[in-house]
Protein backbone atom coordinates (compact mmCIF):
# COMPACT_ATOMS: atom_id res chain seq x y z
CA UNK A 1 0.00 0.00 0.00
CA UNK A 2 1.50 3.28 -1.09
CA UNK A 3 0.67 6.30 1.03
CA UNK A 4 3.61 8.45 0.05
CA UNK A 5 3.10 11.65 -1.88
CA UNK A 6 5.32 14.36 -3.24
CA UNK A 7 4.80 18.08 -2.82
CA UNK A 8 7.33 19.82 -5.01
CA UNK A 9 10.66 18.29 -3.99
CA UNK A 10 9.30 17.25 -0.62
CA UNK A 11 8.77 13.49 -0.29
CA UNK A 12 6.14 12.70 2.33
CA UNK A 13 5.78 9.17 3.73
CA UNK A 14 2.07 9.81 4.00
CA UNK A 15 -0.16 12.71 3.01
CA UNK A 16 -0.78 14.00 6.53
CA UNK A 17 0.87 17.10 7.94
CA UNK A 18 -0.02 19.43 10.77
CA UNK A 19 -1.42 22.85 9.99
CA UNK A 20 0.59 25.92 10.81
CA UNK A 21 -0.17 27.49 14.17
CA UNK A 22 -1.96 24.47 15.55
CA UNK A 23 0.98 22.29 16.52
CA UNK A 24 3.31 24.77 18.18
CA UNK A 25 6.84 23.74 17.24
CA UNK A 26 6.09 20.10 17.86
CA UNK A 27 7.29 19.90 21.47
CA UNK A 28 3.86 19.86 23.04
CA UNK A 29 2.85 16.81 21.01
CA UNK A 30 5.94 14.66 21.25
CA UNK A 31 4.75 13.12 24.50
CA UNK A 32 1.56 11.88 22.81
CA UNK A 33 2.96 10.12 19.77
CA UNK A 34 6.09 9.69 17.69
CA UNK A 35 6.22 12.75 15.47
CA UNK A 36 8.26 10.76 12.95
CA UNK A 37 4.96 9.18 11.95
CA UNK A 38 3.84 12.43 10.35
CA UNK A 39 4.17 13.26 6.68
CA UNK A 40 5.34 16.71 7.70
CA UNK A 41 5.20 19.21 10.54
CA UNK A 42 4.20 22.74 9.73
CA UNK A 43 5.22 25.27 12.35
CA UNK A 44 3.69 28.46 13.69
CA UNK A 45 4.07 31.40 11.27
CA UNK A 46 7.56 32.87 11.35
CA UNK A 47 8.15 36.60 11.03
CA UNK A 48 11.45 38.38 10.63
CA UNK A 49 11.41 39.66 14.20
CA UNK A 50 9.71 38.12 17.21
CA UNK A 51 6.11 39.24 17.56
CA UNK A 52 4.16 39.65 20.79
CA UNK A 53 0.79 38.86 19.27
CA UNK A 54 -2.65 40.25 20.04
CA UNK A 55 -4.26 41.02 23.39
CA UNK A 56 -6.51 38.45 25.11
CA UNK A 57 -9.04 36.97 24.78
CA UNK A 58 -7.62 35.57 21.59
CA UNK A 59 -9.96 32.66 21.00
CA UNK A 60 -13.57 31.79 21.40
CA UNK A 61 -15.71 28.83 20.48
CA UNK A 62 -18.50 28.99 17.88
CA UNK A 63 -20.83 26.26 16.60
CA UNK A 64 -18.51 23.46 15.42
CA UNK A 65 -15.66 25.89 15.20
CA UNK A 66 -13.46 28.42 16.92
CA UNK A 67 -12.32 31.93 16.14
CA UNK A 68 -8.71 32.85 16.79
CA UNK A 69 -6.79 36.03 16.65
CA UNK A 70 -3.37 35.06 17.92
CA UNK A 71 -1.77 37.81 15.92
CA UNK A 72 1.22 35.78 14.84
CA UNK A 73 2.90 35.61 18.23
CA UNK A 74 6.18 33.90 17.39
CA UNK A 75 9.84 33.74 18.25
CA UNK A 76 10.99 35.33 14.98
CA UNK A 77 13.28 33.90 12.32
CA UNK A 78 16.43 33.67 14.44
CA UNK A 79 14.57 32.28 17.39
CA UNK A 80 13.04 29.63 15.17
CA UNK A 81 16.36 28.59 13.69
CA UNK A 82 18.26 28.51 16.95
CA UNK A 83 15.67 27.36 19.49
CA UNK A 84 13.00 25.43 17.62
CA UNK A 85 14.42 23.85 14.49
CA UNK A 86 17.13 21.74 16.16
CA UNK A 87 14.47 20.05 18.29
CA UNK A 88 12.19 19.42 15.31
CA UNK A 89 15.09 17.80 13.49
CA UNK A 90 15.05 14.97 16.03
CA UNK A 91 12.16 13.49 14.07
CA UNK A 92 12.31 11.79 10.71
CA UNK A 93 9.73 13.97 9.06
CA UNK A 94 9.60 17.04 6.86
CA UNK A 95 9.57 20.50 8.33
CA UNK A 96 7.54 23.17 6.62
CA UNK A 97 8.27 26.75 7.62
CA UNK A 98 5.21 28.98 7.48
CA UNK A 99 6.35 32.51 6.72
CA UNK A 100 4.70 35.84 7.24
CA UNK A 101 6.07 39.23 6.21
CA UNK A 102 4.78 42.76 6.40
CA UNK A 103 6.41 43.72 3.14
CA UNK A 104 7.74 41.95 0.08
CA UNK A 105 11.23 42.65 1.33
CA UNK A 106 10.55 40.88 4.60
CA UNK A 107 9.16 37.85 2.78
CA UNK A 108 12.29 37.83 0.62
CA UNK A 109 14.62 38.14 3.57
CA UNK A 110 13.01 35.32 5.53
CA UNK A 111 12.60 33.04 2.53
CA UNK A 112 16.14 33.54 1.26
CA UNK A 113 17.52 32.68 4.65
CA UNK A 114 15.27 29.63 5.06
CA UNK A 115 16.22 28.40 1.59
CA UNK A 116 19.65 27.56 2.92
CA UNK A 117 18.55 26.14 6.26
CA UNK A 118 17.68 22.59 7.19
CA UNK A 119 13.98 22.70 6.41
CA UNK A 120 12.01 21.04 3.63
CA UNK A 121 9.50 23.56 2.43
CA UNK A 122 8.56 27.19 2.77
CA UNK A 123 4.89 28.01 3.02
CA UNK A 124 4.02 31.63 2.36
CA UNK A 125 1.21 32.73 4.59
CA UNK A 126 -0.41 35.43 2.50
CA UNK A 127 -3.75 35.00 4.14
CA UNK A 128 -3.56 35.54 7.85
CA UNK A 129 -6.53 37.67 8.81
CA UNK A 130 -5.06 38.54 12.17
CA UNK A 131 -2.25 40.94 11.52
CA UNK A 132 -3.18 44.41 10.47
CA UNK A 133 -0.35 45.38 8.13
CA UNK A 134 0.30 41.71 7.53
CA UNK A 135 0.20 39.49 4.50
CA UNK A 136 -3.54 39.70 4.03
CA UNK A 137 -3.51 42.07 1.07
CA UNK A 138 -1.38 39.60 -0.85
CA UNK A 139 -3.98 36.94 -0.19
CA UNK A 140 -6.95 38.85 -1.52
CA UNK A 141 -5.33 40.82 -4.35
CA UNK A 142 -3.85 38.60 -7.03
CA UNK A 143 -1.72 41.32 -8.59
CA UNK A 144 -0.01 41.84 -5.26
CA UNK A 145 0.34 38.10 -4.93
CA UNK A 146 1.97 37.89 -8.35
CA UNK A 147 4.52 40.54 -7.39
CA UNK A 148 5.27 38.80 -4.13
CA UNK A 149 5.70 35.41 -5.74
CA UNK A 150 7.97 36.64 -8.51
CA UNK A 151 10.24 38.10 -5.88
CA UNK A 152 10.18 35.16 -3.51
CA UNK A 153 10.48 32.45 -6.15
CA UNK A 154 13.69 34.00 -7.37
CA UNK A 155 15.29 33.53 -3.95
CA UNK A 156 13.79 30.17 -3.07
CA UNK A 157 15.96 27.92 -5.19
CA UNK A 158 16.38 24.75 -3.21
CA UNK A 159 13.23 24.37 -1.19
CA UNK A 160 9.71 23.53 -2.09
CA UNK A 161 7.61 26.68 -2.21
CA UNK A 162 3.99 26.50 -1.07
CA UNK A 163 1.49 29.35 -1.16
CA UNK A 164 -1.23 29.31 1.48
CA UNK A 165 -4.46 30.66 0.08
CA UNK A 166 -7.13 32.71 1.76
CA UNK A 167 -10.75 31.58 1.49
CA UNK A 168 -11.94 35.17 1.87
CA UNK A 169 -12.08 35.79 -1.85
CA UNK A 170 -14.62 35.66 -4.64
CA UNK A 171 -12.72 33.21 -6.81
CA UNK A 172 -9.93 31.27 -5.19
CA UNK A 173 -8.94 29.71 -8.51
CA UNK A 174 -7.45 33.02 -9.63
CA UNK A 175 -5.06 32.95 -6.69
CA UNK A 176 -4.19 29.32 -7.25
CA UNK A 177 -3.48 30.00 -10.92
CA UNK A 178 -1.34 32.97 -9.99
CA UNK A 179 0.65 30.74 -7.66
CA UNK A 180 1.04 28.13 -10.37
CA UNK A 181 2.03 30.70 -13.00
CA UNK A 182 4.68 32.18 -10.76
CA UNK A 183 6.31 28.87 -10.10
CA UNK A 184 4.95 27.85 -6.72
CA UNK A 185 5.31 24.11 -6.17
CA UNK A 186 1.97 23.75 -4.41
CA UNK A 187 -0.90 25.62 -2.85
CA UNK A 188 -2.19 24.94 0.63
CA UNK A 189 -5.75 25.84 1.48
CA UNK A 190 -7.69 27.03 3.28
CA UNK A 191 -6.58 29.48 5.89
CA UNK A 192 -9.24 30.60 8.37
CA UNK A 193 -12.43 32.39 7.34
CA UNK A 194 -12.85 35.90 8.71
CA UNK A 195 -15.43 35.82 11.45
CA UNK A 196 -16.86 37.54 14.51
CA UNK A 197 -18.83 36.49 17.54
CA UNK A 198 -20.50 38.83 20.01
CA UNK A 199 -21.29 38.16 23.64
CA UNK A 200 -24.76 39.66 24.03
CA UNK A 201 -24.34 39.98 27.80
CA UNK A 202 -21.26 42.19 27.61
CA UNK A 203 -22.07 43.50 24.10
CA UNK A 204 -18.44 42.96 23.20
CA UNK A 205 -16.74 40.79 20.63
CA UNK A 206 -15.72 37.52 22.23
CA UNK A 207 -12.14 38.16 21.14
CA UNK A 208 -10.25 41.34 21.85
CA UNK A 209 -9.50 42.17 18.24
CA UNK A 210 -13.16 42.16 17.08
CA UNK A 211 -12.53 39.97 14.02
CA UNK A 212 -10.61 36.72 13.85
CA UNK A 213 -10.28 33.57 11.82
CA UNK A 214 -12.80 30.74 11.92
CA UNK A 215 -11.45 27.18 11.85
CA UNK A 216 -12.78 23.72 12.65
CA UNK A 217 -15.47 21.42 11.24
CA UNK A 218 -17.82 24.34 10.56
CA UNK A 219 -15.68 25.45 7.62
CA UNK A 220 -14.97 22.02 6.17
CA UNK A 221 -17.68 22.10 3.50
CA UNK A 222 -16.38 25.47 2.31
CA UNK A 223 -12.81 24.19 2.23
CA UNK A 224 -13.73 21.01 0.36
CA UNK A 225 -15.61 23.05 -2.23
CA UNK A 226 -12.62 25.33 -2.76
CA UNK A 227 -10.19 22.43 -3.06
CA UNK A 228 -12.42 20.90 -5.71
CA UNK A 229 -12.59 24.18 -7.60
CA UNK A 230 -8.82 24.61 -7.48
CA UNK A 231 -8.21 21.00 -8.43
CA UNK A 232 -10.13 21.69 -11.62
CA UNK A 233 -8.10 24.82 -12.28
CA UNK A 234 -4.42 24.04 -11.65
CA UNK A 235 -1.96 21.18 -12.00
CA UNK A 236 0.27 21.81 -8.99
CA UNK A 237 -0.53 19.75 -5.91
CA UNK A 238 -2.96 20.99 -3.28
CA UNK A 239 -2.52 20.64 0.47
CA UNK A 240 -6.09 20.59 1.74
CA UNK A 241 -7.25 21.61 5.19
CA UNK A 242 -10.13 23.09 7.12
CA UNK A 243 -11.94 21.18 9.83
CA UNK A 244 -10.33 17.79 9.31
CA UNK A 245 -11.13 15.75 12.42
CA UNK A 246 -11.18 12.15 11.14
CA UNK A 247 -9.72 10.12 8.33
CA UNK A 248 -13.04 10.37 6.48
CA UNK A 249 -12.72 14.13 6.54
CA UNK A 250 -9.16 13.87 5.25
CA UNK A 251 -10.33 11.59 2.45
CA UNK A 252 -13.02 14.11 1.48
CA UNK A 253 -10.23 16.54 0.71
CA UNK A 254 -8.23 13.95 -1.17
CA UNK A 255 -11.25 12.90 -3.23
CA UNK A 256 -11.90 16.58 -3.94
CA UNK A 257 -8.37 16.90 -5.32
CA UNK A 258 -5.89 17.39 -2.50
CA UNK A 259 -2.59 15.49 -2.65
CA UNK A 260 -1.81 16.13 0.97
CA UNK A 261 -3.90 17.24 3.93
CA UNK A 262 -3.20 19.25 7.04
CA UNK A 263 -4.74 18.74 10.46
CA UNK A 264 -5.33 21.95 12.40
CA UNK A 265 -7.92 22.60 15.07
CA UNK A 266 -8.27 18.84 15.63
CA UNK A 267 -4.86 18.88 17.35
CA UNK A 268 -6.41 20.95 20.12
CA UNK A 269 -9.26 18.56 20.73
CA UNK A 270 -7.30 15.36 20.53
CA UNK A 271 -3.52 15.58 20.45
CA UNK A 272 -3.21 12.32 18.54
CA UNK A 273 -5.72 13.24 15.83
CA UNK A 274 -3.17 13.30 13.05
CA UNK A 275 -1.86 9.86 13.92
CA UNK A 276 -5.40 8.49 14.04
CA UNK A 277 -6.04 10.01 10.65
CA UNK A 278 -2.99 8.37 9.12
CA UNK A 279 -4.01 5.00 10.54
CA UNK A 280 -7.62 5.43 9.47
CA UNK A 281 -6.57 6.26 5.95
CA UNK A 282 -4.44 3.16 5.79
CA UNK A 283 -7.34 1.03 7.00
CA UNK A 284 -9.75 2.59 4.49
CA UNK A 285 -7.32 1.83 1.67
CA UNK A 286 -6.90 -1.71 2.80
CA UNK A 287 -10.65 -2.34 3.15
CA UNK A 288 -11.40 -0.69 -0.18
CA UNK A 289 -8.46 -2.20 -2.04
CA UNK A 290 -6.84 1.07 -2.86
CA UNK A 291 -3.21 0.28 -3.59
CA UNK A 292 -1.97 3.81 -3.95
CA UNK A 293 -3.34 6.98 -2.38
CA UNK A 294 -2.89 8.62 -5.77
CA UNK A 295 -5.83 6.54 -6.99
CA UNK A 296 -8.05 8.61 -4.70
CA UNK A 297 -6.78 12.10 -5.47
CA UNK A 298 -9.54 14.04 -7.20
CA UNK A 299 -11.55 10.83 -7.38
CA UNK A 300 -14.95 12.24 -6.49
CA UNK A 301 -17.52 10.97 -8.98
CA UNK A 302 -19.58 13.54 -10.77
Amino acid sequence: MKLDVKIGKMQMKNPVMTASGTFGYGQEYAEFFDLSELGAINVKGISLNPMAGNPAPRICETPCGMINSIGLQNVGLEGFLSEKLPYLRNFRTNIVANVLGNTIDEYIEISERLDSEDIDAIELNVSCPNVKQGGISFGVDFLQLRKLLMAVRSVVKKKTLIVKLSPNVTDIRIFARTAEDEGADAVSMINTVMAMSINVKTRKSRIASMIGGLSGPAIRPVAVRMVWEVHNAVKIPIIGMGGIMTYEDALEFILAGATSVAVGTANFIDPISSLNIINGMREYMSINNVADIHDLIGGVNE
Partner: protein, 251 residues
Protein backbone atom coordinates in the same frame (compact mmCIF):
# COMPACT_ATOMS: atom_id res chain seq x y z
CA UNK B 1 1.35 6.61 30.98
CA UNK B 2 -0.13 9.33 28.89
CA UNK B 3 -1.71 12.64 29.74
CA UNK B 4 -4.46 11.80 27.26
CA UNK B 5 -6.85 9.14 28.46
CA UNK B 6 -10.41 7.92 28.65
CA UNK B 7 -12.29 8.06 31.91
CA UNK B 8 -15.58 6.74 33.15
CA UNK B 9 -17.86 8.84 35.26
CA UNK B 10 -18.39 7.35 38.68
CA UNK B 11 -20.89 9.86 39.89
CA UNK B 12 -22.01 13.40 39.41
CA UNK B 13 -23.76 14.85 42.39
CA UNK B 14 -24.92 18.25 43.42
CA UNK B 15 -22.83 19.63 46.29
CA UNK B 16 -24.07 23.21 46.23
CA UNK B 17 -26.47 25.32 44.22
CA UNK B 18 -25.56 24.74 40.58
CA UNK B 19 -22.32 22.96 41.48
CA UNK B 20 -21.67 19.30 40.89
CA UNK B 21 -18.97 17.05 42.19
CA UNK B 22 -17.88 15.19 39.13
CA UNK B 23 -15.92 12.08 39.90
CA UNK B 24 -14.18 10.04 37.21
CA UNK B 25 -12.11 6.92 37.03
CA UNK B 26 -9.27 6.45 34.53
CA UNK B 27 -9.65 3.57 32.15
CA UNK B 28 -6.01 3.77 31.16
CA UNK B 29 -3.02 4.57 33.38
CA UNK B 30 -2.68 8.27 34.10
CA UNK B 31 -0.44 10.59 36.03
CA UNK B 32 -1.01 12.08 39.48
CA UNK B 33 -1.86 15.77 39.65
CA UNK B 34 -0.47 18.42 41.94
CA UNK B 35 -2.65 21.11 43.58
CA UNK B 36 -3.36 23.91 41.10
CA UNK B 37 -3.08 21.79 37.98
CA UNK B 38 -6.04 21.27 35.71
CA UNK B 39 -7.55 18.87 33.18
CA UNK B 40 -9.30 19.37 29.87
CA UNK B 41 -12.61 17.47 29.82
CA UNK B 42 -14.61 16.52 26.76
CA UNK B 43 -18.18 17.75 26.93
CA UNK B 44 -19.95 17.25 23.57
CA UNK B 45 -20.17 13.95 21.76
CA UNK B 46 -19.49 15.41 18.33
CA UNK B 47 -18.36 18.90 17.38
CA UNK B 48 -20.71 21.21 19.26
CA UNK B 49 -19.38 22.08 21.79
CA UNK B 50 -16.11 21.56 19.99
CA UNK B 51 -13.38 22.31 22.50
CA UNK B 52 -12.59 20.54 25.72
CA UNK B 53 -13.13 22.60 28.87
CA UNK B 54 -10.53 23.27 31.60
CA UNK B 55 -11.27 22.26 35.21
CA UNK B 56 -8.99 22.39 38.23
CA UNK B 57 -8.26 19.18 40.00
CA UNK B 58 -10.38 19.23 43.13
CA UNK B 59 -9.32 15.99 44.67
CA UNK B 60 -7.43 12.93 43.51
CA UNK B 61 -6.76 9.46 44.72
CA UNK B 62 -5.90 6.08 43.35
CA UNK B 63 -7.23 6.01 39.79
CA UNK B 64 -9.87 8.59 40.54
CA UNK B 65 -10.17 12.32 40.03
CA UNK B 66 -12.80 14.74 41.25
CA UNK B 67 -13.76 18.08 39.82
CA UNK B 68 -16.16 20.73 40.97
CA UNK B 69 -18.20 21.86 38.01
CA UNK B 70 -20.38 24.92 38.07
CA UNK B 71 -22.92 25.10 35.29
CA UNK B 72 -22.40 28.35 33.42
CA UNK B 73 -22.81 27.59 29.73
CA UNK B 74 -23.22 24.88 27.15
CA UNK B 75 -20.23 22.71 27.99
CA UNK B 76 -20.80 22.70 31.72
CA UNK B 77 -24.51 22.05 31.15
CA UNK B 78 -23.64 18.87 29.30
CA UNK B 79 -21.13 17.78 31.95
CA UNK B 80 -23.65 18.43 34.70
CA UNK B 81 -26.05 16.02 33.09
CA UNK B 82 -23.66 13.19 32.38
CA UNK B 83 -24.22 10.19 34.53
CA UNK B 84 -22.35 7.22 35.92
CA UNK B 85 -20.98 4.96 33.21
CA UNK B 86 -20.57 7.66 30.57
CA UNK B 87 -17.08 7.76 29.09
CA UNK B 88 -15.24 10.96 28.26
CA UNK B 89 -11.85 11.91 26.87
CA UNK B 90 -9.58 13.72 29.27
CA UNK B 91 -6.22 15.44 28.96
CA UNK B 92 -4.12 16.20 32.02
CA UNK B 93 -2.74 16.98 34.48
CA UNK B 94 -1.77 20.25 32.84
CA UNK B 95 -0.10 23.50 33.84
CA UNK B 96 2.00 24.52 36.80
CA UNK B 97 0.93 23.69 40.32
CA UNK B 98 1.07 25.95 43.38
CA UNK B 99 4.64 26.12 44.63
CA UNK B 100 4.79 24.63 48.13
CA UNK B 101 6.58 27.29 50.16
CA UNK B 102 7.95 27.09 53.67
CA UNK B 103 6.24 30.20 55.01
CA UNK B 104 2.85 30.25 56.68
CA UNK B 105 0.35 29.48 53.91
CA UNK B 106 -2.66 31.78 53.70
CA UNK B 107 -5.22 30.47 51.25
CA UNK B 108 -7.88 32.81 49.93
CA UNK B 109 -10.67 31.23 47.93
CA UNK B 110 -13.45 33.22 46.32
CA UNK B 111 -16.48 31.22 45.19
CA UNK B 112 -15.47 28.53 42.70
CA UNK B 113 -11.83 29.34 43.47
CA UNK B 114 -12.17 26.62 46.10
CA UNK B 115 -12.07 24.07 43.26
CA UNK B 116 -8.44 24.90 42.65
CA UNK B 117 -7.45 25.42 46.31
CA UNK B 118 -9.14 22.51 48.09
CA UNK B 119 -6.36 20.06 47.32
CA UNK B 120 -3.80 22.65 48.41
CA UNK B 121 -5.62 23.01 51.73
CA UNK B 122 -5.45 19.26 52.12
CA UNK B 123 -1.76 19.35 51.28
CA UNK B 124 -0.97 21.98 53.94
CA UNK B 125 -3.53 20.50 56.27
CA UNK B 126 -3.47 22.09 59.74
CA UNK B 127 -0.75 24.53 58.63
CA UNK B 128 -3.26 26.17 56.29
CA UNK B 129 -5.02 29.39 57.23
CA UNK B 130 -8.02 29.76 54.94
CA UNK B 131 -10.46 32.49 54.00
CA UNK B 132 -13.28 31.10 51.95
CA UNK B 133 -15.71 33.71 50.68
CA UNK B 134 -18.83 33.15 48.66
CA UNK B 135 -21.95 34.99 47.58
CA UNK B 136 -24.33 33.19 49.85
CA UNK B 137 -24.60 30.08 52.04
CA UNK B 138 -25.89 27.96 49.17
CA UNK B 139 -22.68 28.52 47.20
CA UNK B 140 -20.42 27.01 49.85
CA UNK B 141 -19.09 23.51 49.31
CA UNK B 142 -17.38 21.06 51.64
CA UNK B 143 -17.48 23.38 54.63
CA UNK B 144 -17.08 20.58 57.14
CA UNK B 145 -14.10 19.02 55.40
CA UNK B 146 -12.37 22.35 55.10
CA UNK B 147 -13.11 23.17 58.71
CA UNK B 148 -11.65 19.93 59.96
CA UNK B 149 -8.63 20.10 57.68
CA UNK B 150 -7.43 23.68 57.83
CA UNK B 151 -5.69 25.07 60.89
CA UNK B 152 -7.73 28.24 60.75
CA UNK B 153 -10.75 29.18 58.69
CA UNK B 154 -12.89 32.21 58.05
CA UNK B 155 -16.01 31.62 56.03
CA UNK B 156 -17.60 34.76 54.68
CA UNK B 157 -20.61 35.49 52.53
CA UNK B 158 -21.70 38.69 50.87
CA UNK B 159 -25.12 38.43 52.49
CA UNK B 160 -24.04 37.01 55.83
CA UNK B 161 -26.07 33.85 55.33
CA UNK B 162 -23.08 31.73 56.32
CA UNK B 163 -19.98 32.66 58.29
CA UNK B 164 -19.27 36.34 58.54
CA UNK B 165 -20.84 38.98 56.38
CA UNK B 166 -18.55 40.69 53.87
CA UNK B 167 -16.06 39.74 51.22
CA UNK B 168 -12.62 38.24 51.64
CA UNK B 169 -10.94 41.65 51.48
CA UNK B 170 -12.75 42.64 54.64
CA UNK B 171 -11.02 39.85 56.57
CA UNK B 172 -7.67 39.57 54.97
CA UNK B 173 -6.02 42.18 57.17
CA UNK B 174 -7.46 40.90 60.39
CA UNK B 175 -6.63 37.37 59.39
CA UNK B 176 -2.99 37.95 58.64
CA UNK B 177 -2.70 39.87 61.82
CA UNK B 178 0.07 42.13 60.64
CA UNK B 179 2.17 39.11 59.89
CA UNK B 180 3.85 39.54 56.54
CA UNK B 181 6.01 36.46 56.47
CA UNK B 182 3.33 34.38 54.80
CA UNK B 183 2.66 33.03 51.33
CA UNK B 184 -0.74 33.81 49.91
CA UNK B 185 -2.41 31.43 47.49
CA UNK B 186 -5.55 32.69 45.85
CA UNK B 187 -8.09 31.74 43.24
CA UNK B 188 -11.48 33.26 42.52
CA UNK B 189 -13.19 35.97 40.49
CA UNK B 190 -10.92 38.35 38.58
CA UNK B 191 -11.85 41.43 40.62
CA UNK B 192 -11.02 39.66 43.86
CA UNK B 193 -7.72 38.30 42.55
CA UNK B 194 -6.68 41.76 41.54
CA UNK B 195 -7.51 43.16 44.96
CA UNK B 196 -5.69 40.39 46.79
CA UNK B 197 -2.71 40.73 44.47
CA UNK B 198 -2.52 44.48 44.93
CA UNK B 199 -2.82 44.09 48.67
CA UNK B 200 0.03 41.58 48.76
CA UNK B 201 2.24 43.54 46.40
CA UNK B 202 1.70 46.64 48.50
CA UNK B 203 2.66 44.76 51.64
CA UNK B 204 5.50 42.85 50.02
CA UNK B 205 3.78 39.53 50.63
CA UNK B 206 4.59 36.60 48.38
CA UNK B 207 1.40 35.75 46.48
CA UNK B 208 0.39 33.12 43.95
CA UNK B 209 -2.76 33.54 41.89
CA UNK B 210 -4.48 31.01 39.69
CA UNK B 211 -5.90 32.62 36.55
CA UNK B 212 -8.49 31.64 33.97
CA UNK B 213 -8.59 32.27 30.27
CA UNK B 214 -10.46 30.77 27.31
CA UNK B 215 -8.52 27.73 26.17
CA UNK B 216 -8.46 25.66 23.04
CA UNK B 217 -5.65 23.12 23.55
CA UNK B 218 -4.57 23.33 27.17
CA UNK B 219 -1.17 22.14 25.96
CA UNK B 220 0.60 25.34 25.05
CA UNK B 221 0.32 24.95 21.31
CA UNK B 222 -2.47 27.32 20.22
CA UNK B 223 -1.24 30.43 22.07
CA UNK B 224 -4.86 31.25 22.73
CA UNK B 225 -4.89 31.51 26.51
CA UNK B 226 -2.38 34.24 27.22
CA UNK B 227 -2.29 36.85 29.95
CA UNK B 228 -0.10 39.93 30.05
CA UNK B 229 2.88 39.56 32.34
CA UNK B 230 6.02 41.51 32.89
CA UNK B 231 7.72 38.90 30.72
CA UNK B 232 5.31 39.41 27.83
CA UNK B 233 2.26 37.33 27.03
CA UNK B 234 2.32 34.04 28.88
CA UNK B 235 0.12 31.02 28.45
CA UNK B 236 -2.27 30.27 31.29
CA UNK B 237 -2.21 26.59 30.34
CA UNK B 238 1.56 26.26 30.33
CA UNK B 239 3.37 28.96 32.33
CA UNK B 240 0.19 29.13 34.47
CA UNK B 241 -2.51 28.78 35.61
CA UNK B 242 -0.58 29.63 38.78
CA UNK B 243 1.45 32.81 38.47
CA UNK B 244 3.31 34.96 40.91
CA UNK B 245 1.01 37.94 41.49
CA UNK B 246 3.86 40.36 40.96
CA UNK B 247 4.52 39.03 37.45
CA UNK B 248 1.04 39.80 36.19
CA UNK B 249 0.14 43.14 34.64
CA UNK B 250 -3.14 43.83 36.40
CA UNK B 251 -5.41 46.01 34.34
Amino acid sequence: MSRSFKAEIIYNREVARNIKLFRIHFLTPAMNPEPGQFYMLQTGQFYDPLLKRPFSIFDADLNELSFLVRETGRGTAILSHKSAGNIIDVIGPLGMSYPICQKQPVIIAGGMGIASLFSLIKRFSERAKVIYGAGTAQDIVYRDEIESTAGDLIISTDDGSAGRKGNVMDFINEFMNGEEDVTVYTCGPGVMLKKVAEFCIRKGIECYVSLEQNMACGLGSCLGCVVRTKNGYQRVCKEGPVFSASDIIWD
